[in-house]
Amino acid sequence: MSAHAATAHTAHAHHDTSFVRTYVFSTDHKMIARQFLFMGLFMMIIGGLLALMVRWQLAWPETAVPGLSVILKDTGGILEPSTYNMAFTMHATIMIFFVIMPILAGAFGNFCIPLMIGARDMAFPTLNMLSFWVTATAGVIMLSGFFVEGGHAAAGWTSYAPLSAVPQYTGVNWGQNLWCIALFVMGIGSMMGSINYITTIINMRAPGMHLFRMPLVVWSLFITAILLLLALPVLTSAVAMLLFDRTLGTSWFAPSGGGEPLLWQHLFWYFGHPEVYILILPAMGIASEILPVFSRKPIFGYHAMAFSMIAIAFLSWIVYGHHMFVSGMSPSLGMAFTVTTMVIAVPSAIKTFNWLGTLWGGRIQFTVPMLFALGFVSMFVIGGLSGIFMASTPVDIYIQDTYFIVAHIHYVVFGGSIFGAFAGIYFWFPKMFGRMMNPLLGHLHFWSTFIFFNWTFFPMHIIGVGGQMRRIYNPMQYEFLQHQQHWNVFMTYGALMLGAGMILFVINFFWSLFAGKKAPLNPWNSNTLEWTAPSPPPHLNWGAHVPTVYRGPYEYSDPDAREDFLPQSQAPVGAGARRHH
């Protein structure tokens, strides 16, 4: 090991090591991963505070939000209907495009892909750097919308036309334009990243790393990258068309000029449904990585896991119409989309059963990443099952646009994607930053998140079935909703504590970054290649030789092996001579 490190040092000593090249305009995939992670976590704070504003208004309508009078001087901290619409619009926009995508696809995609397939970097390191900076620019543009006259976009994250297409309808002018521009720029950044991921995985795998020896998280990121490459351009085009409608007088979506409002919905959801899987697939991959390590067992049904992800990716293109059952789209199409939506539940069920199969007979270690992975599986089951209600068209007529949908989406993207993201952060932190996170704070963070997440979001199913519409400013304006207002108060208490629990994570993250225990090479006794590189891995990841791969990634507790794990790169007995080729 030390010999390797020495060669690496001399071989790459000539590299430019200026501060700017190392920390700002770095082409090193690991630094870019950290940049995406920091960006995502920073935006999560903004998105989370917006959510708390929304929750406050729903529980105690038209009372001053504590602390908000500093910003909303005119109203003394009380949200007006237009500010409220802006808050939930931007909460979702930020969480989806600037938190989950940068963390799951951006940070874990960049960190895991080269390290886990045995590549020294991405195929196009400069493009990779550009991808981050383009995405960061998009983030700045998106945030700038908060400071323009008329406020930020307020037509929902789905921005249904013609509400979003004609400025008079919302009273928002530049906010919505900047929303379009930011998503357009973000789409370009994401395209750069996805091309890079796909090329890297196809061309740059270490010797012996067949496709079916790849860790499932790499499979998930590979499939996500393909979805990103194909789905994001649809959004990019749609927001460009919307911007043209708003500024250049085209009329794609507004019927006054011959446009078609449903065209926006078709374009948006044609992107939007694959997008849902873009958000969840990497989390599925992370869970598939962590469950075997802490069960000390091979993943159950590796091939079924890989193929079910491929099936999900294909099916994700033909289910989007289930967002539009009551939109005025032809009812026969609705019938067809019911069938495809029911079908896509099958691969998700297969994955869930295989995760349970992995736990079965294992030797489970309840570490923090494992708890979050288990949390992911259980919350994803609830989110998946509530999805089936919506797939059934007659049921969907009633629950469409109610809090039942809000519950469902939060079980999938918070209980699913964000739990997956936390699992991944706790799991790879030692490799990413070379230090261990504090397990006690981690356990507290998990339990507060798990309890208050369910506290906040489970009752949404109940008030949704009770008929509460989403995106309403004040439920007390409706007689049929008044009797369930106590749930809104209950949920807001949960949301406040959920938010407070995140402080534990922030403390743990920054404290561990600077003062955490130094991480050993392989703290979790894991098999995959990233754990053979130093913590944190240097530029180009390994010394003189990249590792050679001899087996699949999940050889835990093999009865013929001495230890309960067998790293992918450990040469079989008698094959040691092949190692240095």
Binding site: R296, S327, G328, M342, I364, I388, I472, Y556
Partner: protein, 175 residues
């Protein structure tokens, strides 16, 4: 049960094809049943609607429901009157953005899309006053865009119509 304890080794298995087949087919069958249950109901609601001579013309706008009853041109705001036990067709239009016709107690919801005219229908079996919110975000006044649907007995409806709808003929059920 499977918590890590010293001295115990995890079960070494890569999977089981029989199990994979079982847990593919069983959920698939359940979903086939759910689809089979959903499809006829959907078809009954949306694809073949019962005929009706009672057509109410509803045009949504920011932030009101504008209602025209059969045989009358008088526009009511946020107020609809219909007889009980009769199939009611609602001819839904919008003059600005997308709204959604939602009557929770009737389990009916249909978006009103500008540039289109979409028929929604319901039949109420109990007279009363029912809340009628808009279910699709339609701007800053979305919350509170709400009407009432009054369901009368046949005689009461006749009486109400005689008193409140203009007597002139020719308006009729438009379209």
């Amino acid at each position: 049960m499977y918590r890590d304890r010293p001295g115990r080794r995890a079960r070494y298995t890569h999977g089981n094809t029989t199990l994979e087949i079982v847990w593919t087919i069983v959920p698939a069958l359940i979903l086939v049943v759910l689809t089979a249950l959903s499809a006829p109901a959907w078809s009954k609601i949306k694809m073949t609607r019962p005929p009706s001579d009672f057509v109410v013309d509803v045009t949504a706008k920011q932030f009101n429901w504008q209602v025209k009853h059969p045989n009358s041109d008088k526009v009511f705001l946020d107020e609809m009157h219909v007889p009980v036990n009769k199939v009611i067709h609602v001819d839904l239009k919008s003059q600005d953005v997308i709204h959604s016709f939602f009557v929770p107690q009737f389990r009916v919801k249909q978006d009103a899309v500008p540039g289109r005219s979409i028929i929604a229908w319901f039949e109420v079996t109990k007279p009363g006053k029912y809340e009628w919110p808009c279910a699709e975000l339609c701007g800053f006044g979305h919350s509170g865009m709400r009407g009432w649907i009054y369901v009368h007995s046949a005689e009461d409806y006749k009486k109400w119509a005689a008193e409140n709808l203009t007597a002139e003929t020719g308006g009729g059920a438009k379209k």
